[in-house]
Symmetry: C2
Subunit: 196 residues, 2 copies
């Protein structure tokens, strides 16, 4: 966009890249477009990011981290594990559903980025599962939940809810029964956590 006299930082490049991706989509967005948006030559962008792939990876990571941070707040709250778990799952579903529904094109763009960067996604998933682990662990300590292997149980909870947070299933999130199905699933999972 407007050339700027500010220093060229990785941060500013990432912002410009997001903007370019939003405007042109993942197929058309080029490094030259990003450079043009910043009023610099594309060589300067390569000073901060070794390849176009690295640049896209950094954008993907930023995007996923925003979700992570929001949920970390819920996981850390000081109250009963069941309530926190229910709210955490609901917050994850709601956040994803809004991202998918509010701006489908931008969401499609991030779906492409996610497909390109499985390593980043893996780290993100590990992060979310760790958050679940903290909630489940608290629940076990307080006697609300039963689990012989907290990390494995946390992973099972994450897996059980894939349909309501994995972008691969985004298509289903709009359909009318989705909320009821989500509620039934969370109830089933919570009952399972409470033990036999």
């Amino acid at each position: 966009m407007a050339p700027s006299t500010e220093t060229l930082t990785a941060e500013r490049i990432l912002e410009a890249t997001e903007e370019v991706l939003r405007r042109y989509g993942p197929a058309k967005a080029t490094v030259v477009d990003v450079a043009r948006a910043l009023g610099v030559s594309h060589g300067s962008v390569y000073r901060h990011f070794r390849t176009k792939a690295a640049l896209r990876e950094a954008v993907t990571e930023r995007w996923l981290d925003r979700t992570s941070r929001a949920l970390a707040g819920i996981a850390a709250e000081d109250r009963g594990a069941e309530g926190r778990l229910r709210d955490w799952c609901a917050a994850l579903f709601t956040a994803k559903r809004h991202k998918a529904g509010d701006d489908p094109e931008l969401f499609a763009t991030y779906m492409v980025l996610i497909g390109e960067n499985s390593a980043v996604v893996e780290r993100h998933v590990a992060d979310l599962v760790a958050q679940l682990g903290r909630i489940v662990g608290d629940g076990v300590r307080a006697g609300a939940f039963a689990s012989a292997d907290v990390p494995a149980t946390a992973r099972a909870v994450f897996d059980a809810t894939v349909r309501f947070h994995d972008p691969a299933h985004a298509r289903d999130w709009a359909h009318p029964g989705a909320d009821a199905e989500f509620a039934a699933l969370v109830d089933l999972v919570v009952r399972g956590l409470k033990g036999a």
Copy 2:
């Protein structure tokens, strides 16, 4: 392939179509190829299937029905609901994993067909959920499971296990920890079914 003197039936066309899809893949397989394999003109194929899409849909349906029928056997067995549920889920996971692992190219072909025929897939899913419903219903009647709404619970069980039967997650099925994660998930679900 070899021309034949037999009558041209929908069944024979479907077999030839499967063969052509296996050989050329979903992108290259044409109606002309199918006709050539049968030793007839492509016009004759159109006598049995109105469009290429209808032909592919029929192939997809056949393929999904084979899985359905195998599982229906387990659902109908005369024994405890918990064992049947565990075996049914394991059979579904194992069957899918083999299809994906044994012939990845053919599996990719069917993934494409599945993407083209969401209506067929929806019916297939409804069928599987109904089978689960029978098992869960039996369990509730026998006092082994607790559920206020059997169809909704069956759907929740199906949803909870998506990661281990939906082709969208096929990529994960090969990884070493998959079996342990599957076991942990089924345990969680079964505990949930047994009630709080």
